[in-house]
């Protein structure tokens, strides 16, 4: 299936209004977006200190706001992430806390508040099994929290090493390896060699190994987990690869190496990059556009060669802060969040 040959376009399905300030992040519920017969659910978080839960009606197919999570966070909610079970939503806020919300069907309740960071929490991420979360902050630290019974969370590790504001944390999709990216222009890889050992920084991807030359904003993995895309204030996307089989066999740490850099496409800071299950990379940038990239040499031994599949100019009226592919198979829905206060749902479709 060669996407470059198809005549594809990004069609706006719906614009979701409601937030009263910029929208920082969107997250698809991993279960509802997957299962047949269940309505897709999307969470969005905003500078208005709230999180909105959106649901698509199975009858009319239109999206409506199901509930608003408010009066818990006292400042911007910067990031939100669903647990793999889809039952819990974690929210990272500039108030220095991370909220854990439980979905009780018709309403959400904040069941726990994780405290410890000295200032704004920028990002939160669940590992693949849902047994722990990671958070990061402007205090330069990355925390790992263990999920205990009875809505309890224990701080399992405080990881230091970044020299500046940490912008995002992301667990590997299949292994308990944690990645963080920072205002210090680097990406750090954190791993515990023994199963119950301590996490340490096993690799730093910086300018000296073809890394970014300015703030790194976002990290995303392909479905297999052997490639990673990062985006930056330096207006580039970088693709990294690793020997995932070696890593999974438990032999030793398999380092990530730079594969290629996509430059010249973006006019302003790239705030978000997300890799779909069928290998399309979406980017959201400060030039108000959404771009999609695909590897045009998918089977080449020379390494990947990513090309622009399409660019959606004026996707929003202001900076695009987050792009997220729906995890469902085949429908190719993309959600985006912007400084214009809007969430948009897009479909990648063949032109008529």
């Amino acid at each position: 299936m060669d996407l470059m040959e198809k005549n594809l376009e990004l069609v706006e399905i719906q614009k979701l209004e409601g937030h009263t300030d910029r929208v920082w992040s969107v997250a698809w519920n991993p279960v509802s977006s997957h299962a047949d017969g269940v309505s897709p659910i999307l969470a969005s978080c905003s500078g208005d200190n709230t999180v909105r839960i959106w649901e698509q009606s199975s009858l009319s197919r239109s999206w409506t706001c199901k509930t608003v999570l408010e009066e818990t966070h006292t400042r911007t909610v910067r990031s939100c992430a669903w647990s793999p079970s889809g039952q819990l939503l974690a929210t990272a806020s500039f108030d220095g806390t991370t909220g854990i919300w439980k979905n009780y069907g018709s309403e959400f309740e904040c069941i726990s508040t994780l405290e410890g960071h000295e200032n704004e929490v920028k990002s939160v991420s669940w590992n693949a099994s849902g047994s722990c979360l990671a958070t990061c902050s402007r205090d330069k630290s990355v925390w790992i929290w263990e999920v205990l019974e009875g809505n309890e969370y224990d701080c399992a590790a405080v990881l230091t090493g970044h020299t500046q504001d940490v912008k995002m944390v992301q667990w590997h999709p299949t292994m308990d390896v944690l990645f963080s990216c920072s205002y210090d222009n680097t990406i750090k890889v954190w791993w515990s060699e023994d199963d119950d050992g301590e996490y340490q920084c096993v690799q730093t991807l910086g300018e000296s190994n073809n890394g970014h030359s300015s703030t790194v904003w976002s990290i995303s993995f392909n479905a297999a987990g052997d490639k990673m895309v990062t985006c930056s204030d330096d207006l580039t996307l970088k693709i990294w690869g690793t020997d995932i089989a070696k890593m999974q066999s438990g032999e030793e740490y398999a380092p990530w190496i730079h594969l290629c850099t996509l430059s010249g496409y973006h006019d302003r800071t790239i705030y978000s990059a997300h890799w779909s299950r069928d290998d399309i990379i979406a980017s959201g940038a400060g030039d108000n556009a959404i771009r999609l990239f695909v590897d045009s040499k998918h089977d080449s031994v020379d390494g990947p060669s990513y090309n622009l599949l399409l660019k959606k100019n004026k996707a929003h009226e202001n900076d695009v802060n987050s792009v997220q592919w729906s995890p469902g198979e085949g429908n190719r829905l993309l959600a985006s969040a912007s400084d214009d206060g809007m969430v948009k749902i897009w479909q990648l479709a063949t032109k008529p």
Binding site: R22, G47, R75, T76, R78, F94, N119, E120, K122, R138, D165, K167, Y183, S214, T215, D233, D267, R268, G286, D287, N288, E317, N318, D319, D339, D340
Partner: protein, 154 residues
Amino acid sequence: MTLGLINANPVVQAKKEGLVRREDQYRDDGVDPLEIYDYVRDIRDPEHPYTLEQLRVVSEESVTVDDKLDRILITFTPTIQHCSMANIIGLCLRAKLKECLQLHYKVDIRVSPGSHADEVSVNKQLNDKERVVAALENPNLRQLVDECIYSDEI
């Protein structure tokens, strides 16, 4: 604030009256750099009872507009090389422009090349919108910024 003044002896210029708009600079669709200058020139310095214009922190040449790309570049000159107020002044410029400009304009703020010891660091911080937003949510900083951009007691 610190006990002593960061810059105890600023150079003060006379305050100008309303600027004469030159016909050739007026654009039908775009924004006029002089108009933007008018927005920011009366911002008060965080330390002294003078405007940024009076202290020559900003001047007419500070504003560059790219109409095609809807981009605005503001270049300002802190009063001294090691001025720790540079970040505050940058925040004031951002807060003021956010109120005056339409959503789609992109604003970049920089210190004048060679005018500050921490030029690269200050520029990076002032153009990280996430950190700017977080700083302006800090009530103490917000109050200081509001005092600078709303004061009409000069």
